[in-house]
């Protein structure tokens, strides 16, 4: 996985500024759509640390996203966002630590299957028990912000908030992938056994990446709950995890910023698809076939 250089980051920054200027020229409904895409981008970006970074394809990731979202509900209404956000990251990180400890004992197909099963376990926890308010999902009270946000200002405020957090997450991962830790992860993706033979603590590195990615997914889930004021067990299901993988592949698994491009592209494809046909699964299925069969390097890989 390569990181964009200074030029690439400049383009990404300009794109972020263009989105941040939406309140000046776009309808509230389009700003909500951009918020949705930004949250999807956070989710896919957190998974990219595993998929593109360490070569780990996890289907449990939606579980951590959902835990982050449900933490707002579990803490109860009226809490400060400065409490709910770290709590979401912590809860998701802890769940990722437990899952990763077990699932990372396996490799390849086994890893896929065990992460799928553990992710569904989290799904069942919220789908089958009254813990999370039931199988149909619940409307939640948003956490307290610094100021009270009037209803009309919500699309603007949430768009700017989500863009800020997405940018922060991107910059953090950009730094991280350039560090010794990031290089060690790339080494594991390329050849795990060689890294072990060289004396690296492969198990520890993988678990660290898994927990970190889980905590970041929790942040993404938290922002989804804050933006939509609604949580449902589907957020934790493996179909949601597969969607994040699709965004990564569509945008380009070989590039750190690929998932961001993929998330915005998929959100746009869905929106256009929805205006043409009611068959959403057909649109998504065809998008996957196009991404896997035609766009081998993703959108980010088109330029070479």
């Amino acid at each position: 996985m390569t990181r964009p250089g200074a030029r690439g980051n400049l383009w990404l920054g300009l794109a972020a500024l263009a989105l941040a200027s939406m309140p000046l020229w776009a309808a509230p409904w389009h700003m909500q759509l951009a918020s949705t895409a930004a949250i999807a981008a956070m989710f896919a970006l957190s998974l990219q640390l595993l998929a593109g970074g360490a070569g780990l394809i996890s289907l449990a990731h939606a579980g951590f996203f959902g835990l982050g979202a449900y933490s707002v509900y579990l803490l109860g209404g009226g809490r400060s966002i400065f409490l709910t956000l770290p709590a979401a990251a912590l809860l998701a990180g802890l769940a990722a630590a437990a899952t990763g400890y077990l699932a990372l004992r396996t490799r390849g197909f086994y890893f896929l299957m065990t992460t799928l099963a553990f992710g569904q376990m989290l799904f069942f926890l919220f789908h089958d028990t009254p813990l999370g308010g039931g199988a149909d999902g619940v409307f939640i009270a948003r956490p307290d912000m610094i100021w009270t946000v009037p209803k009309a200002a919500r699309p603007v405020v949430f768009l700017l908030l989500n863009l800020t957090i997405l940018t922060a997450m991107y910059l953090f991962l950009w730094k991280l992938m350039g560090s010794l830790f990031g290089h060690a992860l790339s080494g594991i993706r390329a050849n795990e056994d060689r890294m072990r033979a060289m004396g690296h603590d492969v198990a520890g590195l993988k678990l660290t990446a898994f927990v970190l990615a889980g905590a970041l997914a929790g942040v993404a889930g938290h922002m989804a709950a804050v933006t939509d004021a609604f949580v449902s067990p589907e957020l934790l299901g493996w179909h949601h995890a597969a969607e994040a993988l699709l965004m990564i592949l569509l945008g380009g698994i070989g590039h750190l910023h690929g998932p961001i491009l993929g998330a915005f592209a998929l959100t746009a494809i869905r929106e256009v698809g929805q205006s043409i046909t009611e068959r959403q699964r057909l649109v998504e299925g065809l998008a996957i076939l196009a991404a896997v069969l035609l766009l081998r390097r993703g959108i980010a890989g088109l330029r070479r």
């Binding site: 394809i57 077990l102 569904q120 069942f124 089958d128 179909h239 699964r281 896997v292």
Partner: protein, 286 residues
């Protein structure tokens, strides 16, 4: 006590249906090295096939043979047309391609039929209870499902363990490169295994149709449980899949009756315990 016995039989019968799905899954993994997330959809297609056949002809018993024959043909077609090409792909590609298949299968079902729940009646010939002990009687249809699944399992064991083709399937599951070196026809083995796996999953769906509603996405729960069966049993091991399926089926069924809130989780706890104890499954070699 009678209640417990009935639930235990339900659990075994559920486990045997899981075995039909999981054994195909484990062989397809083991022999072809392909991860097929759409395997649960094949189960759903089998159940809908039973619904259509039973509704059109009024005779449920035409459905299981139709599911087997249709499954063999459909599976061979899928393997020749798609999965043969998926083999060289990376795991991520396989996950997404088979995920796309799930979406397209569901969409095809919605286009051809509808998005409703349907009930398939228990065939009248078996719509009665058989007294098992003193005051305890058990559904004849459920006993028939138990018997059919056990018979299929026996035929499968005999085929894989005793015939020449079975021996090459075992060889392929253990060491895929070896099959080519020995001059066996790996391509026909793949087609055979995939077609058989598809037929087994669709047969399971057809048999399960009168036991539960037929509904969109019904394969999803079975997919997850049969993945757990494969993980617990050990990749590529039919015997492992058999015992793991009985274990998972019993725990899930008894859990749903006696502790409904933790039923979904208890099976995963079992899997976690197995992973801690033997990361490659209970029946893995070496």
């Amino acid at each position: 006590m009678e209640g417990f016995l009935a639930q235990l039989l339900n659990g075994l019968q559920y486990g045997l249906l899981l075995f039909l799905i999981g054994s195909g899954l484990t062989l397809i993994f083991g022999v072809m090295g392909v991860i097929n997330l759409a395997h649960g959809s094949l189960f759903m297609i089998g159940a809908y096939l039973a619904y259509v056949v039973a509704t059109l002809t009024g005779e449920f018993w035409l459905a299981p043979p139709a599911a087997v024959l249709g499954g063999l043909a459909f599976g061979a077609l899928l393997e020749r047309g798609l999965f043969r090409k998926f083999r060289e792909r990376e795991h991520l590609d396989q996950v997404l391609l088979t995920f796309a298949l799930i979406l397209l299968f569901e969409e095809a079902r919605a286009a051809l039929l509808d998005n409703q729940f349907h009930a398939v009646a228990v065939p009248p010939s078996l719509d009665f209870s058989i007294p098992v002990t003193g005051g305890f009687a058990y559904s004849a249809y459920r006993l028939a499902v138990l018997a059919i699944c056990l018979a299929v399992a026996a035929v499968m064991f005999a085929f894989v363990e005793r015939t020449r083709i079975g021996a090459s399937i075992r060889a392929a599951a253990e060491n895929p490169e070896m099959v080519d070196l020995l001059g066996l026809d790996a391509r026909s083995i793949h087609t055979l295994v995939f077609a058989a796996g598809t037929a087994l999953a669709m047969l399971a769906g057809a048999l399960a149709a009168p036991l539960q509603s037929v509904y969109p996405g019904m394969g999803d729960g079975f997919l997850i449980l049969s993945f757990i069966v494969v993980v617990i049993g050990g990749l590529g091991s039919i015997a492992g899949a058999f015992w793991a399926a009985l274990l998972v089926g019993s725990i899930d069924t008894l859990g749903k009756v006696y502790a409904p809130q933790i039923a979904g989780i208890s099976v995963c706890v079992l899997m976690a315990a197995v992973l801690l104890w033997r990361p490659n499954g209970l029946f893995a070699r070496g």
